[in-house]
Every structure is written in structure tokens, then in C-alpha cells.
Amino acid sequence: MALLEVKDLEVNYGLIKAIKGVSFEVNEGEIVALIGANGAGKTTIMHAINGIIPKARGNVTLQGEDITSTPAHKLIYKGMAQVPEGRRIFQELTVFENLQLGYYSKKGKAEFEEKLTEMYEHFPILKQRSSQIAGTLSGGEQQMLAMSRAMMSSPKLLLLDEPSMGLSPLYVNTIFEMIETVNKQGTTVLLVEQNAKKALTIANRGYVLEIGKMVKTGTGADLLNDEEIVKAYLGG
């Protein structure tokens, strides 16, 4: 049984069909990449899964449980956390307070301290800046914070929406290393990326999305070597 299963998902923006029947699954322990050009519907799929925007049709299950109409704020309690597109950290709060909010769905002071130490070990810069207002961090640091914030809840499944967007190559590497680390530690990852090459390199499997439809799927390595994919997305 797949950890996350999306079946025949359709999403409309008014009269426009943005997602036209998309199905895919994420198995436990995997990194799955969802790649596609700007406007293909990657973020829309993410928002539909987490309940921020309504689904027109289809259903989503998490660990066999139907979460199609579960409100957004309840999903984290079921083990699904998300790093949204554009990071969306709480700009007016401190780094520490952002991490506290990441732990909002959980209880227990000792475990909080433990998670906090873990995040600070991953990203020592966050420890240095723990009392700094998050809005003053650099883009890369904000992305680290967004990721740590999501990981505070020890999710089974982590959804990452464009984590490399607007980052310098150095930070992109840091973030992708972190994705691999959390995956090795047991978190399943669904990754949406425009940086297809980077995403497919670390992904077990990938799906290719084109204007609201899945057009191709395969292992990360297969897709990296696929001529059409190379031509369309990898600049080959």
C-alpha cells in the first residue's frame, strides 16, 4: 500500500481545468519528484493534496485513509507536513518562534527540545540566528528555516514545493543534501521542482507533468536519460 495515493485528481480554477485527472503514488521511504514546466500544475496539485484549494474530482489517501476532504489544518496531525512554495515562513516572528509553530501540532517539552537540537545540528546558522526576526534572513536561510519548521512535527510524509526556487547554487546543494538526509532518516518525500535535473538525481521515481496531465513516469535515473525529457526540461 502506498503512503500517499492520488487518484484521478481534477482541479478547476473557475471554468479553467487546471488539473485534468492526475494519478500518482508515493511509497513509504521514497523520494518522488514531480517535474514539469511553469504552469504545468505542480503547485496546484500540492495545494489540492493539502486542502488549501478544493478538488473538483478524484481522491487522495494517506496510509490508506481517505483525506480527500480533510481540512488543511488536520493533515499535519496525520503525519503530513509541507514546505510551501515561496517558503512562507512567518516573517514577523523570530527563527525560534517559527520553529515553535512548526511544533504546534505536537505536545511535550522534552521532545520539542530534542527536535530543536536536531534542526540546529542540521543547520547551525539557524541556531546562531534563533532570536532574529525571520524576515531578515537571506533566501537560503529562510528555506532552511521553512524546511526545519516542517520537520519539527516529525512527519511521515514531507511535501516540498519548489525548494530550490530563487536560491543560489550553493544553497540549492545544502537544501538537496538535507532532503536526502531526512529521507535516509525515514521521512518519505514528495518533491515538486522546476530544477528537474537536481530533483531527478535524488529521486527514486519521477512523474512528468504537462499542462495538467501526467505524461511520463519512471525511475529518477530513467527519466534523466530519457531523450524527450532531456530535451524539454534538462536543457540537453
Binding site: I52, A72, H73, F90
Partner: protein, 288 residues
């Protein structure tokens, strides 16, 4: 010496405005709506005090706060919640509708004649040449306590942090597991009970009440919230105190006294022209 007295009175009146302004600003920050029925909660609180006053003044104050707290929650659930996601104009007009509804209900129940609500005769404190009413002192002390408590609540409790998160980014807050509807309910509850308390302190100053009792303080507190920067809790405090002091200073100068209200709104216009986000308001990029 007169000036000291004016200042103390200004601080105390400003405290009342600040208490009401907190309700406006918190609701605006969290639910992104202007609750123009907020002022009328003060009036409802005042009449609730009147009803329970014959039993015990303290009980009357507590009853008034509890009743307004519940009223705030009910108004939000019945009138505003169904409009979540609707155009801001629809919500605004609904709020004005609720305001008229509350006023009309009070008119039906209590009539248009002013009622006297004498909660307590607290007497006067004499320090040298100055004599200050104990009601002024109590108002001032309570305001300070409430502001400190609210600031600590927002800064150091889980719910408080969730409120800040919701006011900044609703969707990101939901992803953290924050139930937006619950936070909105709590916000209305806090705002409305503070409005009831503000009503009590106003009645300690001038013990008469009519069905339109909440209108003027409501509008002035809204002005204070905008001057301070709507959406900002410290802004509401600063704006409220500022407006209270301005009002008392103007009233103490015979040549200016007739124009006090005009001056207050003039200040609002000037602030809106010079710094539209208010004294402590931040310019926030609206997310699409």
C-alpha cells in the same frame, strides 16, 4: 497642575479607547475584516451591567464581560463566518447591519430614554492641589494590567503565537495545524470582553447609557486603531492613549473645546496622508 490632571484624565480616557481599539485591531489582523458592530458591544455590556447591578456590582461587571464574550462569538458564527471568502464590502455591510440590529434591539428593550448606571461611587483622591477620581486611577491601572497581560499572552502562549501566525499568513498557519476558525472565535471572544470592560470604565466616568451609547467611542477607538496602525496590537494601545490625551487637552482649552471631535478626525486624516499604515503599522505585501 491643571495640565497634570488633564494628562491623567487623557491617559485614562485613552486607556478606554485602547481597550476598544484592541478589539478592532485584533479582529482586523486575524479575520481581515472591520467589525463595525464592535462599538455596540460596549452598549450591550453597559445594559448588561444595568440588569445585574441590583444584585452586586462586581457580579454585574463579570456578567457583562461573559455576556459580551458570548455575544461576540455568536455574532461571528451567525453573521460573519458564512461570509468567509466573500467580498470585503459584503462583510463590512453585514457588520453595519449587526450594529443597527444591536442598537434596535436595545431600543426595543430599554427605550430611547437614558438609563442611569451607577456602578459605584468611588470618591476622589487628593494629592496636594490635584484631586483625581478613583475611577480614573482604576481605569488607568486596569488598562496597564490588560495591556501587559495581552502582550504576554500573544508573545508567550501557543494560542497567542498562533494568532500572530494567522494574521501574517493564513495558509501557512493552516499547514502548521492551526485551526483558523478556532483562532477567529478566540479573537472575537477577547475583543468583545475587552469592549464590555471598556463600557464599564466609561460608565464609571459618565453613568448614563442610551442605545447608541457605543457609537461614538466605537468610531473613536476605530480611529485610534487606524492612527496606531490597524492590525498592530501595540499600535492600538499607542493610538488609543494618543487620542485620549488629545481629546482631554483639547477639551481643557476653551477655544478648542467645541472642535475636539473635528480635531481628532483631522489628525486621522493627516496620519492617513502622511503614513497610511499608521504609527506602528507595517507595510505588508499582500500575498496573492
Amino acid at each position: 497642575m491643571d495640565f497634570v490632571l488633564t494628562l491623567v484624565n487623557g491617559l485614562s480616557l485613552g486607556g478606554i479607547y485602547a481597550m476598544i481599539a484592541l478589539g478592532y485591531t485584533m479582529v482586523y489582523g486575524i479575520a481581515k475584516m472591520l467589525n463595525f458592530a464592535h462599538g455596540d458591544i460596549i452598549m450591550v455590556g453597559g445594559y448588561t451591567v444595568l440588569i445585574f447591578l441590583s444584585i452586586n456590582p462586581i457580579l454585574a461587571i463579570v456578567a457583562s464581560m461573559i455576556f459580551c464574550l458570548l455575544l461576540g462569538i455568536v455574532v461571528e458564527k451567525v453573521a460573519y463566518k458564512p461570509l468567509r471568502g466573500a467580498s470585503p464590502l459584503a462583510v463590512l455591510i453585514t457588520a453595519i447591519g449587526v450594529s443597527y440590529l444591536l442598537q434596535s434591539l436595545a431600543l426595543i428593550i430599554f427605550g430611547a430614554q437614558p438609563e442611569y448606571v451607577i456602578i459605584a461611587d468611588l470618591g476622589v483622591l487628593n494629592i496636594g492641589e490635584i484631586s483625581i477620581g478613583y475611577n480614573t486611577i482604576i481605569t488607568l491601572v486596569s488598562t496597564v494590567i490588560i495591556m501587559i497581560a495581552l502582550t504576554l499572552f500573544v508573545k508567550y502562549t501557543k494560542i497567542g503565537r498562533a494568532m500572530v501566525a494567522v494574521s501574517e499568513d493564513k495558509d501557512a498557519a493552516r499547514l502548521m495545524g492551526i485551526n483558523i476558525n478556532m483562532i477567529i472565535t478566540i479573537t472575537f471572544a477577547i475583543g468583545s470582553s475587552l469592549a464590555a470592560l471598556a463600557g464599564v470604565f466609561s460608565l464609571l466616568k459618565v453613568p448614563t447609557i442610551t442605545p447608541t451609547y457605543g457609537s461614538m467611542p466605537g468610531i473613536k477607538a476605530f480611529t485610534a486603531a487606524v492612527i496606531g496602525g490597524i492590525g498592530s496590537i501595540p499600535g492600538a494601545m499607542v493610538g488609543g492613549i494618543f487620542l485620549g490625551i488629545v481629546e482631554c487637552i483639547c477639551n481643557s482649552i476653551p477655544e478648542l473645546a467645541p472642535y475636539t471631535i473635528a480635531i481628532e478626525f483631522l489628525i486621522l486624516i493627516v496620519i492617513l496622508l502622511v503614513k497610511p499604515s499608521g504609527i506602528l503599522g507595517k507595510k505588508r505585501r499582500e500575498k496573492v
